[in-house]
Amino acid sequence: MSPELSIVLLAVVLPFAAAGATPLLFRALGERTGYVGAAVAAACFGLLATQYGSEGAVELSWIPSLEVALRFYVDGWALLFALLASGIGTLIFAYSAAYMHGESSLSRYYAALLAFMGSILGVALAADLIAIFLFWELTSLCSFVLIGYHTDDEESAYAARMAMFVTVGGGLFLLVGFLLLSLAAGDAVGPAAAFDLAAMLEEPDAVATALRDRGLFVPALGLIAVGAAAKSAQVPLHFWLPNAMAAPTPVSAFLHSATMVKVGVYLVGRVRPLFAGPEWLVLFATLGLATMTVCAILAVASTDIKELLAYSTASHLGLMIAGFGFTSVLGAETGVFHLLNHALFKAALFLVAGIVAHETGTRRLAELSGLRRDLPVTALVAAVVGLSMAGIPPFSGFYSKELLFEAAVEAGHTYDIGALEWLYPAVAVFGSVFTVLYSLRFLALFVGERPTALGDVHRPAVLLVLPPAVLAALTAVVSVDPELAVRAIVQSGVDATAVETHEMHVSLPTELSPAVAMSAVTIGLGLLAYPFYDRLHRGIRAVLAAVPPIGANWWYDATVAALAGGGARLGDRVHNGLLRTYATWTLAATSLLALSGFAATGTPLPLEVGLEAPIAVALVLVVAVVAGLAVVTAPSHVAGVLTLSILGFMIAIFYILASAPDLALTQLVVETLVLVIFLLVIEEIPRYYEVDLGRVVRDAALSTLVGATAFVTVLVTTDARPDGTTAIARYYAEQAVPEGGGTNIVNVILVDFRGFDTLGELVVVATAAVSIITLIVMRPDRTNTADDATDSAETRGETE
């Protein structure tokens, strides 16, 4: 069954349309806009559910001349991700309606959240590399708006900037990677499908071979990996995710645990069939396991419940990346199954954290415990999803972690990877021990003695508890009958991301295997180490505090500070506010570029220059030259300007002699105007100022350079002109009357044949006028008149 274009398109467009209508909706409905959002998300979920079981590509022509089309590709993997996003979105909107009660600028909040959901559905369903990139960056943009929701909070602003910097920066790497990929795909699947990911996935081997033939395999893989790692918070770019917890909790649950951060994982799964190989294995398995371990350790060091969950999210994303990194089919099973499990239990955990923070007023781990009596339902929910996160059998997280262990053990069987064969399973177990530790720590919120300092804890609203309860129920279903989930969606997701097809089965282990032993060791060590949690916690914190450079935040701050400082210094040098500096750089650069252009193309310089000229022309030109010399030696500004206009008028006369009346007229009138403007501003210029020798030399050299460039350009271009009239000139002369209806060829060319150029010049004139207004009227102080006025004369000069 192939998908319906209209339904897929509607599911992607609907959230954007709702986002656009949000300000109006908010005016009419107020805080109930959240329910509209939930309805939109549910509608998207319903629309996409009708496509369940379909597979194939549909497309809508977008930029036909560039072969870019709005293609959608629907298969199990895309549907799994899109259904998760819209389904969890429904719960998040309902939760937001209760959680964000009484907050300000909710209109912006809901609009951004809706736009985000549209973008995430776009990433999931788009089959075109350009469209994927656009939706990808849109999710970063929405995330920026949502993290910076508290606009007056310095910390939120910092976190929002950091997330933007890392994820959008990573997106640029991704774009270059996509371009390299499309270069090779053009060879493999034909230029018409160069951006068509669906076509590439049809022939993964041909694309991989084409990439290797061009030597682009490793660069493309690396660039896409950087993009995915930045988005999915992989080490060493994981630091933005804990900071992003400055966002309201529903946003953290939706964007920064269930969907947006998984986009990187999603893409890794998507392109897996194209790149799977030894490079892929080493890159992603190492990256994923490193992230899993480092972030699990950092989670143990956390003091804030949201920070703990954020590091835990990064750690689990590492698990998924590592799963996809293992090239066996078990790896794909790990990635797909854990993506589903993690989305369910982590979103629920964030919502639980939101309830705890909302009802107790604090998020500090040290101040919270024994909440089971105050929040019994929440405690039950937390128990199910928390144990799933820890990977304790028979909860859902156990099955996917078991798959990871199996894949890690088998990693060495497909490719020869040396010592890594032993290292991967060891690291996987080591990291998982910390996962057990922090999961237990989170559950400790609900057990033990209730601290006396904790004030009155009120019961959460039903709407706050319902969404995490739904997610916990789903987690419980997957835990009890994992085969159900596998049959429903995971198997088709695995088929889309795995290289070979394999029927997937998961169940509780009945006999001892290496993976079962690893699970037992993990859980056993975790339970044994838990009594020493506080010592571990303090120890990791002490190490982090003692050596700041091992924290990624430190590197980010240092990089940003260096960039900002360097930018300011460069700005001061280049942008010093003196017109002469700008003029020097502009003129010198233009001249050098022009001259090097001639040199690069090897234009021959005509050596024989005929000097014959009619006596009248010669006379006019001699006067012009004399005037030019007189400008330099003029005793005052007024005299200089007047002498300069002699030069201009001589050129006008030269035009008349050269039978170009239009040019002459224009030159005459413009010359008059320039003269007047010069005289207007001249009194603002200091009468006389000292000029040091260095500047005289610089000005002289610059003038010589500009003059030489003009001379060479005229010489070369006039020499290159063929003898007699060219075809273009003849065409204009012949067609002016029949086509343009005018005998003045110059004017017919201006308004008719080359009307588009003239239009461009009009825009220049208008822009000049606007910039003059801006420069002069909106200037804060009135001391730089001379610069501005000369600037205006110069701009005018260009418009001629």
Binding site: V669, V746, G755, L762, A769, V777, T785
Partner: protein, 149 residues
């Protein structure tokens, strides 16, 4: 100076208009006519001062020392170049509606009109008028803003 201005300015304006109208067949055109018109205004400014147009010609009261951009005349210049740009683009869009490429031009020859007997109306005239408006508006804006300094 002022006497000369009174005599010269109308002549300049008439010349500018004629340059504009016959630009299609003889030397001239929207750009040059626009610059020439601006020159006429410059002569007025130099001879009578910046506020003359408002006070003397339009008979409005002007508070001295007002920010130049807020002057109604400058606002009018700004409007003029905006209108000119819109006209030029608009005249380019008309052929698009009729199914020709952007900015294609045509002309109609009208016969039997009194005095001229034979008049040619080129659609390029509309575009050229746009050019004229942009040049006059743009240059006068620059001039009066700079001049007010």
């Amino acid at each position: 100076m002022r006497t000369t201005t009174r005599v010269v300015v109308p002549i300049i304006l008439v010349v500018a208009v004629s340059l504009f109208v016959e630009g299609h067949n003889l030397p001239g055109g929207g750009f040059i006519a626009g610059v020439l018109t601006t020159t006429a205004f410059v002569v007025v400014y130099v001879a009578f001062g910046l506020d003359f147009l408002e006070r003397g010609v339009l008979g409005r009261e002007v508070e001295p020392g007002k920010t130049p951009s807020r002057d109604r005349v400058v606002a009018a210049y700004r409007r003029l170049f905006a209108v000119g740009l819109a006209l030029a683009v608009g005249s380019g869009l008309v052929p698009l509606v009729l199914g020709y490429p952007f900015l294609s031009q045509s002309y109609v020859v009208l016969e039997g009109i009194p005095i001229y007997h034979h008049l040619e109306v080129a659609s390029a005239l509309a575009f050229d008028f746009g050019v004229y408006c942009v040049v006059v508006g743009g240059l006068l804006t620059i001039l009066s803003v700079v001049g007010a300094e």
